[in-house]
Symmetry: C2
Subunit: 793 residues, 2 copies
């Protein structure tokens, strides 16, 4: 390892960092290949090699390099730092590094830092019953799954928000950099307050190749790349090469330079300089893919090509040449200089490793539950709306919820551990009350016409659902609380991210050392039934269908029928742990059905009979009217009042479902109702006319094994929509009150003859509606003015 | 309108373009507000105003401005051009412009270009039974829905690919520009071949505000913005201001400059200059939001603020001041100078409007079915694999499919109307045969180690599912064909885009003037069961659940059990129209079950009894074993062979489902089986053990109304996974052959006593597997070596 000028590191520092890097590379290769002979104490034989070779070598040496150098600066500067590994496929690297620094053995005592531990570390990697090939919850120090790519920067910014002492080093792969979420992830720096937030240090790792192609950013000419990164708001530092000593020195210098600059920015801002959004430093690291691996295999170049992406030598067990190449490769790291005879790292190797919780594998921010404090959710009864009689008053549910959120914001003003994220819709979603407690975060210059913007705001709005989701995930996984409010239809944009977060929570729950984190709360509003004005593209309730495919222990879905129920749902969900809570609630004036105590009880039970709304008191119901969702509840209630007026003898039971998961069998979901409870609510033989917020077949999917499933008839959104009126939306989808009454008549044979006229009257109402709405462009007065308390309709 | 130097337009040109713009603005306001008195021939009264005011004014004047100026250059240069309206919320603008140029009345003859037509144009906007408030399929000249934001650039590049004579002007809103998909959409220029492709001209419209916030890009300082756009690979031209004459002149000059530069780039490239990827020109247009609208309303500034986003005057019917302001606003455009007494545009207004199909509202590329040619799909029998006996041979299905795609590529080499899109996975998905017919598109410099890259390649790979999807959509909607191959789990990334495309197709189908386009074909491979090596983050079969929520007439889902069936599915789907075809098929060696003729018949029927695999010949089955998907089929076949060996008297029927939608009732899906056909396959009383590729409850959701549903027992992926072996994946999810045999025993009471030993043997096999796989890291020999032809297991 020849030195070249300029020299930033002393010889000793250089030797230490290089030794760590070599050790980490050795351990990465070992994990991919070896099941025995971890220290190469004997010649490598086929039986030392795993039968299935799985893992990603290509990115690993770069990840190891960054880790080694982060160690040095963390220790030298006593930094509080975590790292986010965008190229999380390089699981062998991260695992190698945290085994080396001891943090791995701290949480996995069965894998000690010695020869036997090394053997187990190798063997368990990508092995049944072992650990995944990518960075995962099982990896200490990580808050970022390897696998799906694109979220490293949004996770990094989320972690840095409200963590003024924290440095988040985010390694961005050049593959990941091509994704949309990452491409807008750079703009996180537009929302980073140098006073109240920590710093994000992006390290763009250009190793040139993806699975089978060059990477786009790696092939840009230097000028264009520099434009791009400055355009993203950064001052880039460039480090590159394939001579380890030179790269070590340059990377160390660049890191120190960046950290000095970050300290300077923060010092200035915290000292009162408000001269505008800083241009944060970043590093571009250009090193060969699969660096230090085999240069050629079977006559084809491998190092510094896409062929280095996964397992460079693929036939080690049955190809002696591959076996010899592997042994030579492993020995090229000179393991005898790195580990003592008992397989422990030699003393000089660990000279730059930080201590205790400063280690990247042990920093409590990356196991956020360790730092989590209970969220001060006020007693929601204080915000309750008066309900003198059911259906006699109207409130905008999200508007009232906004008052609760305002007070949560207020109560966390000093702690700064609660944020509200949304894509430019907080006001549109009628949550504006929060602005009285916190502005909207904005680091750019402001104009006189702007409202509610502030540099330290904890409401974060950017027209990127990906950033909102990624920021919230990063915020939660580092031990804070938050809520993501979105138009229901467009939450689909982050379907895949929700997927990955659910998987993360599911796996984390099984790891005793991972402390529970605050739940990811979605408020889906401007929902399918109230996108009459925006039209078909804004109408989609299918996120619920997606989320209920995930681990039942992780997911909850709430459909509060009114304002007080939304308050009760907020009370139940906001300070929970390790869940994904999906709450779909309207922002438009909605009838109040329940007083707050009833609402709290209703939410606690999840499903209730609304006795006061039915006509089955003291007798078996002949038909059950069930609803889940605010608009479905209104239509069911209107149908119930029509039935009461037109068929007063019919014994109608009204059931409301606020906690959707209760419909699932108890064996399938921890909140599921027992069959006995389900039967008690829905009977075993009466027809059930069920109006549901979303796609109707979801209710069948949840209830197919129930005794009365054969009598269940579900109405919901069936992908019919356009720009029209609210009532026309329910008519288009056959979920309107008139149709529901017709459904009751059609499913209750005993009614047949005496109900013919009623059925015909309902059909005429629907026709009258169609004509009226097309002439007047608004709903019929009898629909607009209808209420349960005064049922004109 | 004062002129300022420099003057690019003559006075006459300026007057004409301004007159068009004023007329379009007038018509946009009219659509938002008026239901009568369209020409203001009498004083405005409340009853002339719509009861519900819906629409987006803020972006409309900018969209009108660009449209007016595009008209001028299209006519002056006889350009073949379409436009993509990123801020598609500005429906009133696009509708106004194509009503003005006559293209609207061409396809909607009930809305003529006269006073009565204007009244109807106004009235129908955002009105029940009318047209949506956003740009939509109903809007002539559009291939891009307004609503969800982010896809304007990917749609634009998709439209430009292989359309060397086409100019695609893409207006990007500053709201949209914050999204991830748009942020990576800029990189489309890295894949635009100046020889074989057309040009994309991005117009970044910075009007400063979103719904309620400033826009991020609009507040960057000039230098940073310029860096960003140059970093995206563009040479930006800047136009801005609020003086119409000056902006007209500057925009005209910038447009001419850009078009000259584009022509120069194309001329050079087509003349043989291959000096590298060109830096394409673009325009940054900075004009006030809601320009020319009310400056203030109720004492608050509106023009040039976020308050101009939707309806600036909201209480026109009951607030006389608002009414007066609206009238003044409308009259500010001087309609009497724009329209004659019969409401027709005055002659001078249309002086720059192109003729016939050159009009933006009439260009056939934006109604791509007009240009579509049948895809030359070869007879797939030519690629069939020999199947001497079922289950005796193995092939990699996608590898064989790759040969078909290669020949489709070849057959379209001159026509250039077929492309394959994928996120860096074409080789990984074993479709590499296509590279023999077309390289992977790459405009950047190449290195010696690169393989299969070419400037004119029609395989397009970028690590952005958003771009792949958007490019394919743009390509299809302009009348070409294509396929998107993706890892199954990560297709969730474009869930929301698939949503919008399904809605587009659904609505288009009802418009007689929209000609059918080629279907969007997904090949989902590297699927859930074969992501044992990549682990839990890569395991998710839920895209199917999502897509089946969409309009049944639009969607098809295929699960070919083997190579020949995949070929037959390709034959059935590749040249269809107006559908979304989802095909999930493996890339790993898969048993061949059917010869090609049987495969074609099987796919044609969608569901078949595999007589040869069952033991129910000549008798009623006691149990039905059903499978959908390649791995489920293998496990079902293995279970059938176990049953044949251990319980030879049991009458087992084996059913295979290749076309999932057949399971739906005929009334719910055009491909659904009648109840009689379903009963004939699945019986009305025998237990059905169903192994399904995805989440098991989807099968219940599809079949809940079938007679035998109560006896249906479904196994599938239930969100259990990690990095492990293939067989361990099915064991973890209880879909393995042993578990299926146990299921049969558990559900067939008549077997009870004589099957106890068999059940126990199966349980032991599972336990043996668990121990074996954890010891050896690979599957038991009896699983690895099992085949139907030689059932050792």
């Amino acid at each position: 390892m020849a030195r070249t000028a300029p020299r930033h590191l002393t010889d000793d520092e250089l030797a230490t960092v290089d030794r760590y890097w070599r050790a980490a590379n050795y351990l990465a290769v070992g994990q991919i290949y070896l099941t025995g002979n971890p220290l190469l104490t004997e010649p490598l034989r086929p039986e030392h090699v795993k039968p299935r070779l799985l893992g990603h070598w290509g990115t690993s040496p770069g990840l190891n390099l960054v880790y080694a150098h982060l160690n040095r600066v963390i220790r030298a500067r006593d930094l509080d730092a975590i790292h986010i590994t965008g190229p999380g496929h390089g699981g062998p690297a991260t695992l190698a590094c945290c085994w080396l620094d001891g943090s791995y053995s701290d949480v996995h005592p069965d894998i000690p830092r010695d020869g036997e531990g090394m053997r187990r570390l190798f063997r368990q990697f990508s092995f049944p019953g072992g650990v995944p090939s990518h960075v995962a919850p099982q990896t200490p120090g990580s808050i970022h799954e390897g696998g799906e790519l694109g979220y490293s920067l949004s996770h990094a910014y989320g972690a840095a928000f409200d963590n003024p002492g924290l440095l988040v080093a985010a390694i961005v792969g050049d593959g990941e950099a091509e994704t949309g979420p990452l491409a807008t992830g750079w703009h996180g720096n537009k929302f980073l307050d140098p006073v109240h937030d920590g710093a994000v240090l992006p390290v763009l790792h250009l190793n040139g190749y993806k699975i089978a192609n060059p990477a786009v950013l790696a092939r840009l000419d230097d000028g264009e790349l520099d434009h791009l990164l400055r355009g993203y708001g950064h001052e880039p530092r460039y480090v590159g090469g394939d001579d380890p000593a030179a790269v070590h020195d340059a990377l160390a210098a660049a890191l120190d330079d960046c950290l000095d600059r970050i300290a300077q920015i923060q010092r200035a801002a915290r000292g009162g300089d408000s001269s505008g959004r800083p241009r944060w430093p970043m590093i571009v690291l250009r090193t060969p893919k699969g660096w230090t691996g085999p240069a050629e295999v079977d006559g084809k170049p491998v190092e510094n090509t896409w062929r280095a992406h996964q397992v460079p030598l693929s036939r080690v067990r049955d190809n002696p040449e591959h076996l010899a190449q592997l042994e030579a490769w492993l020995r090229s790291y000179r393991p005898e200089e790195l580990f003592d005879e008992r397989g422990r790292p030699v003393a000089g190797l660990l000279g730059q490793v930080p201590h205790g919780d400063r280690r990247l594998g042990s920093n409590p921010h990356a196991n956020g539950g360790r730092l989590l404090r209970a969220l001060p959710v006020p007693d929601v009864r204080r915000y309750a709306v008066e309900v003198p009689e059911p259906g006699g008053t109207l409130h905008e549910p999200t508007k009232i919820l906004g008052e609760v959120l305002r007070d949560v914001m207020d109560a966390t003003a000093d702690r700064r551990d609660f944020r509200l994220f949304g894509p430019d819709e907080t006001a549109s979603n009628r949550l504006s009350a929060v602005f009285r407690a916190s502005g909207k975060n904005w680091q750019e210059h402001r104009l006189a016409t702007d409202e509610d913007l502030s540099r330290d705001g904890r409401v974060v709005e950017m027209l990127s659902e990906h950033n909102c989701q990624g920021w919230l995930e990063g915020y939660l996984l580092t031990g804070r609380h938050g809520l993501f409010a979105s138009y229901e239809a467009f939450i689909h944009i982050v379907t895949s991210m929700a997927n990955q977060h659910a998987k993360w929570l599911q796996v984390s729950r099984e790891l005793p050392w991972r402390m529970p984190v605050s739940s990811l709360n979605y408020l889906l509003t401007s929902h399918v039934w109230r996108q009459d004005h925006n039209g078909f593209s804004h109408q989609d309730p299918g996120f619920i269908d997606h989320i209920v495919n995930k681990d039942p222990a992780t997911i909850r879905v709430y459909l509060p029928p009114d304002t007080n129920c939304l308050l009760a749902v907020a009370a139940e969900t906001l300070d929970t742990r390790d869940l994904i809570n999906v709450v779909a609630a309207g922002k438009q004036p909605t009838f109040d059905w329940l007083g707050i105590e009833d609402a709290v009880n209703h939410v606690e039970r999840g499903v209730s009979v609304w006795d006061w709304a039915g006509t089955d008191t003291g007798r078996e119901p002949q038909v059950v009217l069930a609803a889940a969702g605010d608009v479905p509840t209104m239509e069911i209630m209107a149908a119930a009042s029509l039935l009461r007026a037109h068929l007063p003898d019919l014994a109608v039971r009204v059931v409301n479902v606020v906690d959707l998961m209760r419909l699932m069998p108890r064996e399938s979901h921890p909140r599921g109702l027992s069959d006995a409870s389900f039967d008690a609510l829905f009977t075993t033989s009466a027809p059930v006319i069920f109006a549901y917020h979303g796609y109707p077949w979801l209710i069948h999917r949840l209830t197919y094994s129930r005794h009365n499933h054969g009598n269940l008839h579900v109405r919901g959104y069936k992908e019919r929509g356009t720009t029209t009126t609210p009532f026309d939306m329910v008519v288009l989808n056959d979920m309107d009150r008139y149709r529901l009454v017709m459904d009751v008549i059609d499913r209750t044979p005993s009614l047949a003859s005496r109900a013919i006229a009623v059925r015909q009257a309902m059909e005429e109402k629907r026709n009258k509606h169609r004509a009226y709405v097309r002439e007047h462009g608004e709903d019929m007065p009898e629909v607009r003015d209808w209420s349960w308390a005064n049922p004109l309709g």
